[in-house]
Amino acid sequence: MATLKLTDVGKTYGGTVEVLKHINLDIKEGELIVFVGPSGCGKSTLLRMIAGLEKISAGTLEIDGDVVNDVPPAQRGIAMVFQSYALYPHMTVRENMSFALKIAKQSKDEIDAAVDRAAKMLQLEDYLDRLPKALSGGQRQRVAIGRSIVRDPKVYLFDEPLSNLDAALRVATRIEIAQLKEKMPERTMIYVTHDQVEAMTLATRIVVLANKGVAQVGTPLELYERPNSEFVAQFIGSPSMNLLKGEVVSTGAQTRVHLGNDGVAFSDYPTTEADQGLQVKVGVRPEDCRIAKDGDFYFYEGKVDITEALGEVTLLYFEAEMGQDPVIAKLPGVHSNMRGQTVRLTTESDKVHLFADGVSLHYREGTPEPENA
């Protein structure tokens, strides 16, 4: 029901502190957009500008084609769920959920119907007469979501809504939010999170914010499979992608790269004659690493320093020089006996990412931009 369009949006605090600049985003109806990025990169600020709680210093924000830069928050048709829930402590759950409708002077019957419907959807019927302080964290979060639903807004904004919940409740509430989205397919949602899993599972598209701007926009799998920069490559996925220095030795539809210690990697990133001898960073995700059989090509050889058995997988941390990130491999099964062994790693050519000067070779000029970017 609602599209959002941000054009060249920027935010400057006090005329000098520039936090965001040149943000361009096109959000389609019914999308669930997730903002991720390092702490302090301006995710909350961007969300609050969309909500109208923060003035937009530059550029325009359009909702359904209307510029709303100067439209008061309540008239933008937006609801926001805060990290701290921000429930009104002196009101019962019912009063919390009906406040907006009372302000809007709706009739008592309409209000009751809307509240009951939302309460049913979120299984809050038994708590309607309680004060927020008599609720658990998860229940409070549901009330906060219920408070938005009741207003039936065009756009939902969530600022790290699950970060105050424990791990189990987080998973449960995440699924609830996903189900909620399914029940309201035409509602647009924007969601800020630090949690990789939340971002990957909920998002129709992820927006990675960094360095005051948008680093990359794309579906979770696009970002995972074809990150456009070293930054995004290392930001998405946990543990982070391994990056190793290499040199392009043969070009074409498949690129061959030589790394140190006789390491060789083949990548599906295409290169041209001109790239011969190019110094690149070779990126391989820990979960894409396999142990090379004798005689196979390998891109890395190292001594296992630490093993972390997580049950279904084992993380191998290789010895690294001081100050450098260790290469990490994530292998299925239990391999706790590999400590101290020298191991060679290999992978498939479609899992090898190449970056030159921090930028992915996949997105260089001449190669087609992915959709939606």
Binding site: P73, A74, Q75, M80, S84, A86, Y88, F99, A100, I103
Partner: protein
């Protein structure tokens, strides 16, 4: 002996005395009264544990009893005697008071004071706290409004005597009237309303106190609840009265009752402004009229004041316990 040495000596004796008391009484309890050595050792330890809190509380209870309970009982006892304190007259002083017009006026005025002053001071304090919060010169305004707190009641009365002065060259009210061609009036002599002119001095003095406390409380409100209500479409009035004020309810109550207690003790303002004339008497100033002349009646008034304070006090303690 120099005062410094005297002071240090007092501290040493006081602190040393306390330590000696606690140590010695504890020792006596454990070794002489309920020794843990004899046959019923477990029982003795239990009994000692039961007695110990009272042992340690005793000095505090004793001091409180001496300085709080005894005066109350003593005053009541004194109020049952005639002016010289020689003849027991039962409730004679009270009968006299309730039959007297001046006393009834004082009780009526006192209720006016209790109703108006705390309400007005808290209300103004709240409004000012909210309005000055976002202003760049808000802190300056707050300092100015807080200043009357530092003035003595008599000093404040003197200032307001000038404000209310009959002479248009001195009093601002009559200066304004004068400029409009009206003849000067003495506002302190207008029946009934003169009370409000006097009460306003107290409001002027207490608004600063209310403002400071409430301003701190307002700042303690989670900003997000305010932002949530903005998104919910509340206008500034609704945000203030339906989101902010309810959240600082307990602080408002504390401020309100604190000013109520202060108001119940005021006599200086009335004493200096009108001396209780023109029907402006309130109970404490009425009591002052009898003090040193008829202590029986004066203590009877004091006792009536205490009875009026009591419900406010009980309610206040209840509130405080409920918050905890």
């Amino acid at each position: 002996m120099s005062p410094i040495i005297q002071g240090i000596l007092t501290i040493i004796i006081g602190v040393g005395g306390c330590i000696t008391y606690f140590y010695a009484s504890n020792w006596v309890l454990d070794h002489l009264i309920f020794p843990a050595r004899t046959d019923d050792r477990g029982r003795n330890i239990n009994r000692a544990t039961m007695v110990r809190p009272w042992l340690f509380l005793f000095p505090a209870i004793f001091a409180l009893g001496l300085y709080l309970v005894y005066p109350v009982v003593g005053s009541f006892y004194r109020s049952l005697f005639n002016r010289s304190g020689e003849e027991f007259i039962g409730l004679g002083n009270y009968y006299y008071l309730f039959a007297e017009d001046g006393f009834r006026v004082a009780v009526f005025n006192n209720f006016l004071w209790i109703l108006f002053v705390p309400a007005a001071a808290t209300f103004f304090g709240l409004i000012i706290a909210e309005l000055t919060d976002k202003l760049s010169w808000g802190n300056l305004a707050k300092s100015l409004i807080f200043m009357p707190m530092a003035i003595s009641f008599v000093g404040a009365s003197l200032i307001w005597k000038f404000v209310y002065a009959n002479d248009p060259d001195i009093g601002i009210i009559n200066a304004v009237r004068d400029s409009m061609g009206l003849s000067p009036i003495d506002v302190l002599q207008i029946p009934f309303w003169n009370n409000f002119f006097i009460m306003f001095i107290m409001v002027w003095m207490q608004t600063g106190f209310a403002m400071v406390i409430l301003s701190a409380a307002l700042r303690g409100i989670p900003e997000e609840t305010v932002e949530a209500s903005i998104l919910d479409g509340a206008n500034p009035f609704q945000i203030f009265f339906r989101i902010k004020v309810p959240q600082i309810r307990s602080t408002i109550i504390v401020v309100w009752t604190t000013i109520t207690f202060l108001t119940l003790k005021i006599f200086d303002i009335v004493y200096t402004m009108t001396g209780g004339n023109f029907d402006t008497e309130i109970l404490p100033s009425y009591m002052m009229d009898y003090m040193f002349r008829d202590d029986g009646r004066a203590t009877a008034v004091a006792f009536v004041i205490m009875l009026i304070v009591l419900p406010v006090m009980i309610w206040n303690i209840r509130q405080a316990q409920r918050e905890a």
